[in-house]
Assembly symmetry: C2
Homo-oligomer: 218 residues x 2
Protein backbone atom coordinates (compact mmCIF):
# COMPACT_ATOMS: atom_id res chain seq x y z
CA UNK A 1 0.00 0.00 0.00
CA UNK A 2 1.11 3.55 -0.68
CA UNK A 3 1.53 6.46 1.75
CA UNK A 4 -2.11 7.26 0.94
CA UNK A 5 -3.26 5.16 3.87
CA UNK A 6 -1.49 7.60 6.22
CA UNK A 7 -3.46 10.71 5.15
CA UNK A 8 -5.53 12.03 8.09
CA UNK A 9 -9.29 12.38 7.46
CA UNK A 10 -9.19 16.16 7.99
CA UNK A 11 -6.54 16.45 5.28
CA UNK A 12 -8.61 14.26 2.95
CA UNK A 13 -11.51 16.63 3.57
CA UNK A 14 -9.44 19.58 2.35
CA UNK A 15 -8.01 17.89 -0.77
CA UNK A 16 -11.06 18.61 -2.98
CA UNK A 17 -10.71 22.32 -2.19
CA UNK A 18 -7.03 22.28 -3.13
CA UNK A 19 -7.82 20.38 -6.30
CA UNK A 20 -10.43 22.97 -7.32
CA UNK A 21 -7.90 25.78 -6.88
CA UNK A 22 -5.22 23.83 -8.77
CA UNK A 23 -7.52 23.15 -11.73
CA UNK A 24 -8.38 26.85 -11.88
CA UNK A 25 -4.65 27.59 -11.97
CA UNK A 26 -4.10 25.02 -14.73
CA UNK A 27 -6.95 26.60 -16.73
CA UNK A 28 -5.40 30.05 -16.17
CA UNK A 29 -2.08 28.79 -17.59
CA UNK A 30 -0.10 29.17 -14.33
CA UNK A 31 3.16 27.17 -14.03
CA UNK A 32 4.15 27.78 -10.42
CA UNK A 33 2.12 28.65 -7.32
CA UNK A 34 3.50 29.62 -3.91
CA UNK A 35 2.14 27.97 -0.77
CA UNK A 36 0.93 31.40 0.39
CA UNK A 37 -1.09 31.99 -2.79
CA UNK A 38 -2.50 28.48 -2.80
CA UNK A 39 -3.38 28.62 0.92
CA UNK A 40 -5.17 31.94 0.49
CA UNK A 41 -7.18 30.73 -2.50
CA UNK A 42 -8.17 27.58 -0.58
CA UNK A 43 -9.04 29.47 2.60
CA UNK A 44 -6.51 27.75 4.92
CA UNK A 45 -3.28 29.00 6.48
CA UNK A 46 -0.07 28.19 4.66
CA UNK A 47 1.46 26.02 7.43
CA UNK A 48 -1.66 23.84 7.27
CA UNK A 49 -1.44 23.70 3.49
CA UNK A 50 2.22 22.66 3.49
CA UNK A 51 1.54 19.97 6.10
CA UNK A 52 -1.46 18.64 4.12
CA UNK A 53 0.52 18.47 0.86
CA UNK A 54 3.47 16.81 2.59
CA UNK A 55 1.16 13.83 3.24
CA UNK A 56 0.93 13.47 -0.55
CA UNK A 57 4.72 13.60 -0.80
CA UNK A 58 4.55 17.13 -2.30
CA UNK A 59 7.00 19.49 -0.65
CA UNK A 60 7.38 22.19 -3.32
CA UNK A 61 10.64 24.06 -3.83
CA UNK A 62 11.72 26.49 -1.13
CA UNK A 63 11.49 30.10 -2.30
CA UNK A 64 9.77 29.02 -5.54
CA UNK A 65 6.60 27.06 -4.81
CA UNK A 66 4.76 24.13 -6.31
CA UNK A 67 4.72 23.04 -9.94
CA UNK A 68 1.06 23.57 -10.87
CA UNK A 69 0.74 20.70 -13.36
CA UNK A 70 2.51 18.18 -11.13
CA UNK A 71 0.61 19.08 -7.97
CA UNK A 72 -2.76 19.20 -9.72
CA UNK A 73 -2.15 15.77 -11.20
CA UNK A 74 -1.03 14.37 -7.87
CA UNK A 75 -4.03 15.66 -5.89
CA UNK A 76 -6.37 14.53 -8.67
CA UNK A 77 -4.85 11.07 -8.60
CA UNK A 78 -5.56 10.73 -4.86
CA UNK A 79 -9.16 11.87 -5.42
CA UNK A 80 -9.74 9.24 -8.05
CA UNK A 81 -9.39 11.68 -10.98
CA UNK A 82 -8.77 10.37 -14.48
CA UNK A 83 -11.83 8.16 -14.49
CA UNK A 84 -15.56 8.85 -14.32
CA UNK A 85 -16.85 7.06 -11.22
CA UNK A 86 -20.15 5.21 -11.53
CA UNK A 87 -22.54 6.25 -8.71
CA UNK A 88 -25.91 4.86 -7.67
CA UNK A 89 -28.54 6.96 -5.88
CA UNK A 90 -31.11 5.34 -3.59
CA UNK A 91 -34.22 7.44 -3.02
CA UNK A 92 -35.93 9.31 -5.86
CA UNK A 93 -37.53 11.97 -3.66
CA UNK A 94 -36.74 15.69 -3.88
CA UNK A 95 -33.08 15.37 -2.89
CA UNK A 96 -32.34 12.17 -4.83
CA UNK A 97 -33.91 13.55 -8.01
CA UNK A 98 -32.05 16.87 -7.66
CA UNK A 99 -28.72 15.06 -7.25
CA UNK A 100 -29.41 12.81 -10.23
CA UNK A 101 -30.02 15.91 -12.37
CA UNK A 102 -27.17 17.88 -10.75
CA UNK A 103 -24.60 15.18 -11.57
CA UNK A 104 -26.03 14.30 -14.99
CA UNK A 105 -23.21 16.21 -16.76
CA UNK A 106 -20.49 15.77 -14.15
CA UNK A 107 -17.05 15.04 -15.59
CA UNK A 108 -15.98 12.90 -12.62
CA UNK A 109 -19.17 11.05 -11.70
CA UNK A 110 -21.82 9.23 -13.69
CA UNK A 111 -25.18 8.26 -12.22
CA UNK A 112 -25.67 4.66 -13.32
CA UNK A 113 -28.69 3.83 -11.18
CA UNK A 114 -31.51 5.57 -9.30
CA UNK A 115 -33.67 3.42 -7.04
CA UNK A 116 -36.88 3.86 -5.10
CA UNK A 117 -39.16 1.63 -3.05
CA UNK A 118 -42.27 3.40 -4.40
CA UNK A 119 -43.65 1.42 -7.40
CA UNK A 120 -45.28 4.64 -8.66
CA UNK A 121 -41.83 6.16 -9.27
CA UNK A 122 -40.22 3.09 -10.85
CA UNK A 123 -39.88 3.50 -14.61
CA UNK A 124 -39.92 7.31 -14.59
CA UNK A 125 -37.00 9.21 -16.13
CA UNK A 126 -34.91 11.59 -14.01
CA UNK A 127 -31.84 13.38 -15.39
CA UNK A 128 -31.50 10.76 -18.10
CA UNK A 129 -31.71 7.83 -15.67
CA UNK A 130 -34.72 5.52 -15.31
CA UNK A 131 -35.83 4.89 -11.71
CA UNK A 132 -35.38 1.21 -10.85
CA UNK A 133 -36.96 -0.99 -8.21
CA UNK A 134 -34.97 -1.79 -5.07
CA UNK A 135 -34.98 -5.43 -6.11
CA UNK A 136 -32.73 -4.49 -9.07
CA UNK A 137 -30.12 -2.80 -6.90
CA UNK A 138 -27.73 -5.71 -6.46
CA UNK A 139 -27.68 -6.61 -10.15
CA UNK A 140 -27.15 -3.00 -11.28
CA UNK A 141 -24.34 -2.37 -8.77
CA UNK A 142 -22.68 -5.58 -9.96
CA UNK A 143 -23.05 -4.85 -13.67
CA UNK A 144 -21.88 -1.22 -13.43
CA UNK A 145 -19.14 -1.79 -10.84
CA UNK A 146 -20.44 1.17 -8.81
CA UNK A 147 -18.38 1.57 -5.63
CA UNK A 148 -20.05 4.87 -4.66
CA UNK A 149 -23.64 5.47 -3.55
CA UNK A 150 -25.77 8.38 -2.43
CA UNK A 151 -28.55 7.59 0.07
CA UNK A 152 -31.48 10.00 0.07
CA UNK A 153 -34.21 8.04 1.84
CA UNK A 154 -36.17 8.68 5.07
CA UNK A 155 -34.23 8.17 8.30
CA UNK A 156 -36.16 5.00 9.11
CA UNK A 157 -34.90 3.33 5.90
CA UNK A 158 -31.30 4.56 5.83
CA UNK A 159 -29.61 1.83 7.86
CA UNK A 160 -31.18 -1.03 5.92
CA UNK A 161 -30.44 0.69 2.59
CA UNK A 162 -26.78 1.16 3.59
CA UNK A 163 -26.58 -2.51 4.61
CA UNK A 164 -28.08 -3.50 1.26
CA UNK A 165 -25.57 -1.32 -0.63
CA UNK A 166 -22.66 -2.77 1.33
CA UNK A 167 -23.85 -6.30 0.59
CA UNK A 168 -24.06 -5.40 -3.10
CA UNK A 169 -20.41 -4.26 -3.14
CA UNK A 170 -20.61 -0.48 -2.60
CA UNK A 171 -17.71 0.73 -0.42
CA UNK A 172 -18.35 4.50 -0.07
CA UNK A 173 -21.69 6.05 0.84
CA UNK A 174 -22.86 9.66 1.10
CA UNK A 175 -25.86 9.65 3.43
CA UNK A 176 -28.44 12.48 3.30
CA UNK A 177 -30.86 10.75 5.68
CA UNK A 178 -31.14 12.46 9.08
CA UNK A 179 -29.68 9.60 11.11
CA UNK A 180 -26.20 8.35 11.95
CA UNK A 181 -25.68 5.13 10.02
CA UNK A 182 -23.50 2.34 11.43
CA UNK A 183 -21.30 1.39 8.47
CA UNK A 184 -20.70 -2.23 7.53
CA UNK A 185 -17.12 -3.50 7.84
CA UNK A 186 -14.89 -1.88 5.20
CA UNK A 187 -17.45 0.74 4.12
CA UNK A 188 -16.96 4.51 4.44
CA UNK A 189 -20.07 6.55 5.20
CA UNK A 190 -20.15 10.35 5.15
CA UNK A 191 -23.25 12.17 6.31
CA UNK A 192 -24.77 15.42 5.04
CA UNK A 193 -27.74 16.40 7.19
CA UNK A 194 -29.39 19.44 5.65
CA UNK A 195 -31.65 20.16 8.63
CA UNK A 196 -28.65 20.04 10.96
CA UNK A 197 -26.83 22.50 8.70
CA UNK A 198 -29.78 24.89 8.99
CA UNK A 199 -29.86 24.41 12.78
CA UNK A 200 -26.23 25.47 12.97
CA UNK A 201 -27.13 28.61 11.00
CA UNK A 202 -30.01 29.20 13.40
CA UNK A 203 -27.61 28.86 16.35
CA UNK A 204 -25.60 31.80 15.03
CA UNK A 205 -28.68 33.85 14.18
CA UNK A 206 -30.23 33.15 17.62
CA UNK A 207 -26.99 34.15 19.33
CA UNK A 208 -26.85 37.40 17.36
CA UNK A 209 -30.50 38.16 18.15
CA UNK A 210 -29.97 37.44 21.85
CA UNK A 211 -26.85 39.63 21.89
CA UNK A 212 -28.65 42.57 20.29
CA UNK A 213 -31.62 42.22 22.68
CA UNK A 214 -29.37 42.14 25.74
CA UNK A 215 -27.06 44.90 24.56
CA UNK A 216 -23.31 44.58 24.28
CA UNK A 217 -21.55 42.16 26.61
CA UNK A 218 -18.87 43.05 29.07
Amino acid sequence: MSATSEIPPATVGRLPGYWRVMRDLVDAGANIVSSTELAEAAGVNSAQLRRDLSYLGSYGTRGVGYDVAVLSERIGHHLGGGRRWPVVIVGAGNIGRALARHHADDEHFRVVGLFDADPALVGSLVGGVIVSAMSDLEAIVASTGAALAIVAVPGTEAQSVCDLLAAAGVTSILNFAPITVVPAEGVNVRGVDLTQELQILAFHAARRRSASENGPGI
Copy 2:
Protein backbone atom coordinates in the same frame (compact mmCIF):
# COMPACT_ATOMS: atom_id res chain seq x y z
CA MET B 1 -24.12 38.26 26.30
CA SER B 2 -24.51 34.71 27.58
CA ALA B 3 -21.94 31.92 27.77
CA THR B 4 -23.14 31.01 24.27
CA SER B 5 -20.41 33.14 22.74
CA GLU B 6 -17.81 30.78 24.24
CA ILE B 7 -19.06 27.60 22.50
CA PRO B 8 -16.38 26.29 20.09
CA PRO B 9 -17.48 25.81 16.46
CA ALA B 10 -16.83 22.04 16.58
CA THR B 11 -19.17 21.77 19.58
CA VAL B 12 -21.82 23.83 17.76
CA GLY B 13 -21.52 21.40 14.86
CA ARG B 14 -22.36 18.49 17.17
CA LEU B 15 -25.32 20.14 18.95
CA PRO B 16 -27.90 19.27 16.25
CA GLY B 17 -26.96 15.60 16.59
CA TYR B 18 -27.41 15.74 20.36
CA TRP B 19 -30.73 17.52 19.93
CA ARG B 20 -32.00 14.84 17.58
CA VAL B 21 -31.17 12.11 20.10
CA MET B 22 -32.74 14.12 22.95
CA ARG B 23 -36.00 14.65 21.05
CA ASP B 24 -36.15 10.92 20.32
CA LEU B 25 -35.71 10.31 24.07
CA VAL B 26 -38.47 12.82 24.89
CA ASP B 27 -40.76 11.10 22.38
CA ALA B 28 -39.91 7.74 23.95
CA GLY B 29 -40.91 9.06 27.39
CA ALA B 30 -37.42 8.83 28.93
CA ASN B 31 -36.75 10.93 32.05
CA ILE B 32 -33.02 10.44 32.59
CA VAL B 33 -30.20 9.58 30.20
CA SER B 34 -26.62 8.72 31.12
CA SER B 35 -23.73 10.39 29.32
CA THR B 36 -22.66 6.96 28.06
CA GLU B 37 -26.04 6.23 26.50
CA LEU B 38 -26.33 9.70 25.00
CA ALA B 39 -22.77 9.59 23.64
CA GLU B 40 -23.32 6.22 22.02
CA ALA B 41 -26.58 7.30 20.37
CA ALA B 42 -24.90 10.46 19.05
CA GLY B 43 -21.80 8.61 17.83
CA VAL B 44 -19.22 10.46 19.98
CA ASN B 45 -17.21 9.36 23.01
CA SER B 46 -18.63 10.23 26.41
CA ALA B 47 -15.74 12.50 27.50
CA GLN B 48 -16.35 14.57 24.36
CA LEU B 49 -20.09 14.65 25.07
CA ARG B 50 -19.63 15.81 28.68
CA ARG B 51 -17.20 18.53 27.57
CA ASP B 52 -19.59 19.70 24.82
CA LEU B 53 -22.56 19.87 27.20
CA SER B 54 -20.51 21.67 29.85
CA TYR B 55 -20.25 24.59 27.38
CA LEU B 56 -24.05 24.86 27.67
CA GLY B 57 -23.78 24.84 31.47
CA SER B 58 -25.20 21.27 31.59
CA TYR B 59 -23.18 19.02 33.89
CA GLY B 60 -25.73 16.31 34.71
CA THR B 61 -25.73 14.51 38.05
CA ARG B 62 -22.84 12.18 38.82
CA GLY B 63 -23.96 8.56 38.86
CA VAL B 64 -27.41 9.49 37.55
CA GLY B 65 -27.16 11.35 34.25
CA TYR B 66 -28.97 14.19 32.54
CA ASP B 67 -32.61 15.21 32.96
CA VAL B 68 -33.99 14.54 29.46
CA ALA B 69 -36.59 17.34 29.41
CA VAL B 70 -34.21 19.97 30.77
CA LEU B 71 -31.30 19.07 28.49
CA SER B 72 -33.48 18.80 25.40
CA GLU B 73 -34.95 22.22 26.09
CA ARG B 74 -31.52 23.73 26.72
CA ILE B 75 -29.93 22.38 23.52
CA GLY B 76 -33.03 23.37 21.54
CA HIS B 77 -32.84 26.88 22.94
CA HIS B 78 -29.25 27.28 21.73
CA LEU B 79 -30.23 26.01 18.28
CA GLY B 80 -33.01 28.55 17.98
CA GLY B 81 -35.78 26.06 18.78
CA GLY B 82 -39.18 27.31 19.84
CA ARG B 83 -39.65 29.43 16.76
CA ARG B 84 -39.98 28.63 13.08
CA TRP B 85 -37.12 30.45 11.34
CA PRO B 86 -37.90 32.19 8.06
CA VAL B 87 -35.39 31.17 5.35
CA VAL B 88 -34.85 32.49 1.84
CA ILE B 89 -33.38 30.37 -0.95
CA VAL B 90 -31.47 31.96 -3.84
CA GLY B 91 -31.29 29.82 -6.95
CA ALA B 92 -34.27 27.83 -8.22
CA GLY B 93 -32.23 25.18 -10.05
CA ASN B 94 -32.26 21.48 -9.15
CA ILE B 95 -30.79 21.91 -5.67
CA GLY B 96 -32.70 25.09 -4.74
CA ARG B 97 -36.02 23.59 -5.84
CA ALA B 98 -35.33 20.34 -3.98
CA LEU B 99 -34.52 22.24 -0.77
CA ALA B 100 -37.66 24.39 -1.09
CA ARG B 101 -39.77 21.23 -1.34
CA HIS B 102 -37.72 19.37 1.29
CA HIS B 103 -38.26 22.10 3.89
CA ALA B 104 -41.88 22.85 2.92
CA ASP B 105 -43.20 20.98 6.00
CA ASP B 106 -40.25 21.57 8.33
CA GLU B 107 -41.25 22.34 11.91
CA HIS B 108 -38.22 24.59 12.52
CA PHE B 109 -37.79 26.39 9.20
CA ARG B 110 -40.17 28.08 6.81
CA VAL B 111 -39.16 29.00 3.25
CA VAL B 112 -40.42 32.57 2.81
CA GLY B 113 -38.72 33.37 -0.48
CA LEU B 114 -37.19 31.61 -3.47
CA PHE B 115 -35.29 33.74 -5.97
CA ASP B 116 -33.79 33.26 -9.40
CA ALA B 117 -32.10 35.48 -11.97
CA ASP B 118 -33.81 33.60 -14.83
CA PRO B 119 -37.02 35.46 -15.84
CA ALA B 120 -38.41 32.18 -17.22
CA LEU B 121 -38.51 30.74 -13.68
CA VAL B 122 -39.94 33.83 -11.96
CA GLY B 123 -43.61 33.32 -11.09
CA SER B 124 -43.49 29.52 -11.05
CA LEU B 125 -44.59 27.67 -7.92
CA VAL B 126 -42.13 25.38 -6.07
CA GLY B 127 -43.06 23.64 -2.81
CA GLY B 128 -45.77 26.21 -2.17
CA VAL B 129 -43.45 29.19 -2.77
CA ILE B 130 -43.55 31.44 -5.84
CA VAL B 131 -40.16 32.11 -7.45
CA SER B 132 -39.34 35.84 -7.20
CA ALA B 133 -37.00 38.04 -9.18
CA MET B 134 -33.64 38.97 -7.63
CA SER B 135 -34.77 42.59 -7.58
CA ASP B 136 -37.38 41.65 -4.93
CA LEU B 137 -34.83 40.07 -2.61
CA GLU B 138 -34.15 43.05 -0.36
CA ALA B 139 -37.84 43.85 0.17
CA ILE B 140 -38.79 40.23 0.92
CA VAL B 141 -35.91 39.73 3.37
CA ALA B 142 -36.95 42.98 5.12
CA SER B 143 -40.67 42.15 5.28
CA THR B 144 -40.17 38.54 6.47
CA GLY B 145 -37.26 39.25 8.83
CA ALA B 146 -35.35 36.29 7.33
CA ALA B 147 -31.91 36.01 8.95
CA LEU B 148 -31.10 32.69 7.24
CA ALA B 149 -30.44 32.04 3.57
CA ILE B 150 -29.54 29.10 1.36
CA VAL B 151 -27.46 29.87 -1.73
CA ALA B 152 -27.79 27.37 -4.59
CA VAL B 153 -26.45 29.33 -7.57
CA PRO B 154 -23.51 28.70 -9.93
CA GLY B 155 -20.06 29.33 -8.45
CA THR B 156 -19.60 32.46 -10.54
CA GLU B 157 -22.63 34.11 -8.91
CA ALA B 158 -22.21 32.96 -5.30
CA GLN B 159 -20.03 35.77 -3.96
CA SER B 160 -22.23 38.54 -5.32
CA VAL B 161 -25.39 36.77 -4.10
CA CYS B 162 -23.90 36.42 -0.60
CA ASP B 163 -22.95 40.12 -0.61
CA LEU B 164 -26.50 41.00 -1.68
CA LEU B 165 -27.98 38.84 1.10
CA ALA B 166 -25.69 40.40 3.72
CA ALA B 167 -26.68 43.90 2.55
CA ALA B 168 -30.35 42.91 2.86
CA GLY B 169 -29.86 41.85 6.49
CA VAL B 170 -29.26 38.08 6.30
CA THR B 171 -26.69 36.99 8.91
CA SER B 172 -26.33 33.21 8.32
CA ILE B 173 -25.82 31.60 4.92
CA LEU B 174 -25.63 27.97 3.81
CA ASN B 175 -23.72 27.95 0.53
CA PHE B 176 -24.12 25.06 -1.94
CA ALA B 177 -22.14 26.79 -4.70
CA PRO B 178 -18.78 25.13 -5.40
CA ILE B 179 -16.64 28.08 -4.29
CA THR B 180 -15.35 29.42 -0.98
CA VAL B 181 -17.28 32.62 -0.28
CA VAL B 182 -15.67 35.48 1.62
CA PRO B 183 -18.33 36.44 4.19
CA ALA B 184 -19.28 40.05 4.83
CA GLU B 185 -18.53 41.42 8.32
CA GLY B 186 -20.80 39.80 10.90
CA VAL B 187 -22.15 37.10 8.56
CA ASN B 188 -21.67 33.33 9.10
CA VAL B 189 -21.29 31.24 5.96
CA ARG B 190 -21.25 27.44 5.96
CA GLY B 191 -20.46 25.56 2.78
CA VAL B 192 -21.84 22.25 1.52
CA ASP B 193 -20.08 21.24 -1.69
CA LEU B 194 -21.77 18.14 -3.05
CA THR B 195 -19.09 17.45 -5.67
CA GLN B 196 -16.37 17.67 -3.01
CA GLU B 197 -18.31 15.21 -0.85
CA LEU B 198 -18.35 12.77 -3.76
CA GLN B 199 -14.61 13.35 -4.36
CA ILE B 200 -13.92 12.37 -0.75
CA LEU B 201 -15.91 9.16 -1.34
CA ALA B 202 -13.89 8.57 -4.49
CA PHE B 203 -10.67 9.04 -2.50
CA HIS B 204 -11.61 6.12 -0.27
CA ALA B 205 -12.81 3.97 -3.17
CA ALA B 206 -9.63 4.71 -5.15
CA ARG B 207 -7.48 3.83 -2.16
CA ARG B 208 -9.32 0.55 -1.70
CA ARG B 209 -9.01 -0.28 -5.40
CA SER B 210 -5.30 0.53 -5.38
CA ALA B 211 -4.76 -1.57 -2.24
CA SER B 212 -6.51 -4.59 -3.74
CA GLU B 213 -4.55 -4.27 -7.00
CA ASN B 214 -1.24 -4.05 -5.18
CA GLY B 215 -2.02 -6.78 -2.69
CA PRO B 216 -1.85 -6.40 1.06
CA GLY B 217 0.57 -3.85 2.47
CA ILE B 218 3.33 -4.55 4.93
